[in-house]
Amino acid sequence: MKQSTAERPPSVTAKERPTKKFKKPSSEKLRAMGLECSISLIAFALSIITGGIILAILGVNPLTAYASLFKGALGTPSAIAGTINRMIPIILAGLAIAVGRKGSVFNIGVEGQLIIGALLGCLAGIYLKLPAIIHLPVCLLCGMLGGMAWAFIPAWLRLKKNVGVVFTTIMFNYIAKFLLTYLVISVFVTSGGQLSATEKMQDTARLPALIGRPYNINSGILIAVLAVIVVYIFINKTKWGYEMRATGINKNASGSAGINVDRNMFLALLISGALAGLGGCLEIHGSVFRMFADYSPGYGPTGIAVALLAKSNPIAVLLTAFLFGAMRNGAALMQMSTGVSSEFVSIVQGLIIIFVCSENFIRYLMKKAQKRGVAHA
């Protein structure tokens, strides 16, 4: 770093011309985007292939496994509907991670924030008596506040004591799970037969169906898409988003420019928590309608893979969330028909993260391939 500051070799294009007035067609920008996309695609493909190899080692035919995964995800209209419902919380989890990363906070606590958000939203759905028009919004708000509250202490500890967010948020995931178990089993348990769950929430608190039976796509997807748009605008168009992005890339320069770095990291974590809480809520209010004591959907880790594959771009999160929603949705059928645990999806997610992180290597390989192509031509 220092070295390059001190001695920057002269440019070959000896005379850099000042730009002309008119806007250049941004073909270069498009090409750069294409490269980013293709790297994500390659990372994804490599993960699928490696996952297949692992399956083969475990004695399962990867082709049949993937075939049933695909069938379960997108094979029938109701499978597609299931995928869409599945992707709702995943979109929010991915957004939560993406926003955190924009503000240079790696929020591994999405899982816990999502649980607490879902719990709070659900309780509001059960116990508040409100007219239909405001009941659901109040519940969702409760969920967001819940997630935010769960992110607050780690954020505060980082701000005041400089305790790493990674450590505290992970601890808070565990604490959230125990808290949930306690509250559901000992305090808010249903009076009916099922022991380890709350009551079902009131009808006024449920998300209406977007497309009715037999597909049952719930309207949470609209809210999720709305969240994507809002986050996109917030990050890219507002002054606060500008400050957060600047903080995420270069804390020193941001601080020197008068941006309050600590506050931005604090905010990024809180917003991330709120999004996570909303994600939990949308799932509970959209398709489950009650909390189970062992609700631990694993959307947090999925969110990491989603956000990474999307390069933390909110719009791209929508696409990658679809991918992961499909995988998780299809995994159930795969488990039934081939006996491979649905947790196989976690392996693929882990692989995706690894391959995305090694993008430099992929770039290097692509360059080499290109060179070879040129040589052959």
Binding site: M1, K2, Q3, S4, T5, A6, E7, R8, P9, P10, S11, V12, T13, A14, E16, R17, P18, T19, K21, K24, S26, K29, K237, T238, K239, W240, Y242, E243, R245, A246, I249, N250, N252, A253, S254, G255, S256, A257, G258, I259, N260
Partner: protein, 515 residues
């Protein structure tokens, strides 16, 4: 003629978009001090990096004592008897002197380092060359000069015969430079070969046997030092005449005090007193240069003025208003623009576009917003285009990331941005570091322009030449104290150097000034 110990033949190194070394050929003779002169960015460091094995050349070959060699890493070059003292010291602050020196060449068995023996060896070596180093001291507690000597010991310990020094005098005072030159001569007289990289021509002329001038990645010439003089070297280095000093100065009313530091002290949280009772006034229409050896409290003073730190005692006022407890943002709003030392660290967000960088720090000002919260793209674009024209920022497109630009153009972004808010005072911290001559004179012109417009300019620089060229007044910082404030009239480098080392001798110096 002496034996050629190193021959570089046709060394070429290409970075994306840049030819750093363009078929450089050069030879070094046994037992000489060979200077490599060239301005910042000419490709000297790249070339030495290649010779030392840090980088691989794209073309060309290296011959050592007539035999072709390839250095894949410093390990190879060290084994062949090369040693390098880097511009940014390669020392580990938490380690002791001994640990730093023996690193990679540990004494004792493979299982256990024999520290007592190592310390003995280091002490012996230090005495042999008269370096005066305490082997058990922690490097973080040593002064810059001493750290440099540790670096020298490090390569001597590795039995280096060919010593490469990369801009070794940049951080030293004139007096320290003299001592350093003595050390170099002593090393040469004991039979070592020395390659001396510098853009400071006085030292080049003083100690070299031969000099090679590099410009824009190419060798301009190699000559015995007796055949050239400083002026000629300067012309060879830059390729044209460059006049430093920032151009014409007009007489401006400089009676009003802008920034007033009164009895200001600063203690760190650990209780270390970094600044002692500083009294300093910056007026409108003047450039006040702050001279001093690195690490004498500059950083703390800068940070207090820009609002990153707050003084523990004393007052700090700007236009009569107390700003001592204000943060960066507030002070900025009051009309203080800051050009930070490290462009990449503090000045720019390299991944942001040029456009975005041009509003950094002003992103929440109404002139760039619509509806109070959204950045108005049109206004941001207009701002960028205007500043690009005014400050001649050269880039492919204003949407390019700032990291793609050359150092000079990056610095222009920062200056343009800070000036665009029309501040009343500018604090410039090492604003020309690492720039080539053209860019340096541009920056200096802008500073003088600001001064002529009645603004106050506070200039921190480690380059005495720059301080002397640009300042109206000079304050010298030593161990956290302002030891002297002088009018910049008839002051020599040597005199400043004495103050920088805390030498008092009031009378003699006053005499010198009056002369």
């Amino acid at each position: 003629m002496r034996e050629k110990i190193i021959e570089l033949k046709g060394i070429t190194k290409i970075y994306p978009g840049v030819i750093a070394n363009d078929h450089i050929s050069l030879d070094i003779e046994q037992g000489e001090i060979h200077s490599l002169a060239g301005e910042n960015g000419a490709g000297k460091s790249t070339l030495m990096g290649i010779l030392y094995g840090l980088n691989q050349p794209d073309e060309g070959s290296i011959y050592l004592r007539g035999k072709e060699v390839r250095f894949h890493s410093p390990k190879d070059s060290i084994a062949s008897g090369l040693g390098m003292v880097h511009q940014h010291f390669m020392l580990i602050p938490k380690f002791t002197v001994t640990q730093n020196i023996i690193l990679g060449m540990e004494v004792g068995s493979r299982l256990k380092i024999d520290y007592p023996k190592a310390e003995r060896e280091v002490r012996q070596l230090s005495e042999q060359y008269g370096l005066g180093i305490d082997p058990s001291a922690k490097v973080s507690e040593l002064s810059v000069t001493m750290q440099q000597r540790v670096e020298i010991l490090k390569i001597l310990y590795r039995k280096a015969e060919i010593l490469i020094f990369d801009e070794p005098t940049a951080v030293l005072t004139p007096q320290e430079i003299d001592e350093f030159c003595d050390i170099l001569m002593r090393l040469r007289d004991s039979g070592k070969t020395i390659i001396f990289i510098s853009h400071k021509l006085a030292e080049v002329e003083k100690i070299s046997d031969r000099v090679t001038v590099i410009r824009r990645g190419k060798v301009v010439c190699t000559k015995p030092i007796s055949e050239v003089n400083q002026a000629e070297l300067a012309r060879l280095m830059v390729g044209r005449e460059v006049i430093m000093g920032g151009g014409e100065r007009v007489q401006v009313d400089n009676s009003e005090v802008l920034l007033d530091l009164n009895n200001l002290s600063y203690k760190t949280r650990q209780g270390v007193q970094k600044l002692h009772q500083i009294d300093l006034q910056l007026h409108r229409g003047e450039i006040l240069g702050i001279a001093g050896v690195d690490g004498n409290g500059q950083e703390e003073l800068e940070n207090i003025i820009c609002g990153k730190l707050h003084p523990s005692e004393g007052s700090l006022t700007f236009k009569g208003e107390d700003i001592s407890q204000m943060g960066v943002k507030e002070i900025k709003k009051k009309g203080v623009g800051v050009i930070f030392e490290d462009r990449h660290k503090d000045g720019l967000v390299l991944d942001f576009s040029v456009k975005e960088n041009l509003v950094l720090g002003f992103q929440d000002q109404r002139r760039f917003l619509k509806y109070g919260a959204f950045l108005d793209r049109k206004k941001v674009d207009q701002n960028a285009q205007k500043l690009q024209e005014d400050f001649d920022i050269r880039c492919g497109s204003l949407d390019d990331p700032a990291g793609k630009l050359s150092g000079g153009n990056q610095q222009k972004i920062i200056i343009a941005r800070e000036m665009s808010a029309n501040p009343e005072m500018i604090m410039a911290i090492q604003p020309t570091r690492g720039l080539d001559m053209g860019a340096i004179s541009f920056v200096q012109e802008k500073l003088v322009e600001a001064r002529n417009a009645g603004k106050g300019v506070l200039l921190f620089s480690l380059e005495l030449d720059e301080i002397l060229q640009v300042s109206d007044r000079i304050a010298v910082l030593f161990k956290g104290r302002i030891v002297k404030v002088l009018k910049n009239e008839g002051i020599t480098k040597e005199l400043l150097g004495q103050y920088m080392l805390g030498v008092d001798g009031e009378e003699d110096i006053d005499e010198a000034v009056n002369r």
